[in-house]
Symmetry: C2
Subunit: 120 residues, 2 copies
């Protein structure tokens, strides 16, 4: 279960680590598109675009369907809930660590001030 989740996160984050692949998803947010539409839009060969769509499909972010001679692409089943949760946790614990650091610095400053007054 945890292993499956790790493999899913590996695949999605890798799929999202390319500006063209994120662009394809942004395109599909607005409307479905064929692979040749996408290749043209991103000024890319059909083969290059097929590879990108393949990576997105493997990650569950896109589904494709052969309709006549055209391969139609649309958003896949993954809504990125696990990814959002991981990032939210990072954000939360990052803030907690840096807040703790701020508190230590504040305490050191107060201590220094108190020592300074005692030594006057």
């Amino acid at each position: 279960m945890v292993q499956h989740q790790a493999a899913r996160l590996d695949a999605t984050f890798a799929a999202l680590s390319d500006v063209t692949r994120r662009g394809v998803l942004e395109q599909l947010w607005r409307a479905d598109a064929s692979i040749s539409d996408l290749a043209e839009k991103f000024d890319m060969t059909l083969t290059g675009m097929k590879k990108h769509v393949g990576v997105l499909e493997q990650a569950g972010l896109v589904t494709t369907e052969k309709v006549g001679r055209v391969r139609a692409c649309k958003l896949g089943p993954r809504r990125l809930e696990e990814e959002a949760a991981w990032i939210a946790r990072h954000h939360e614990l990052w803030s907690a660590r840096f807040d703790a650091l701020d508190r230590i610095v504040e305490a050191l400053k107060r201590q220094e001030k108190a020592d300074g007054q005692r030594n006057k």
Copy 2:
């Protein structure tokens, strides 16, 4: 500006696409650690761990500092706000697309029912 943001997202999502690198961040959520601590914890060579930490450092997710003979690692400056925003947008527009699809299916069903009653 937009290009910089794209490069940042490429680097962070790539950094997050590995279960060990996510594990290193999860470890640093709790406490700072040296590279050798991390190598031991993840049962990995020092060289292997240095590479992973290097990828995280390039992405701004980790900062390292040489303290005597030890390289200390802690959370870097990036809180993943842009990444969270991108994923939230995907979530939102994904839902909008699928809700629209549901409405079309519902409308078709109602139409079919109405046609069925008319043809009785």
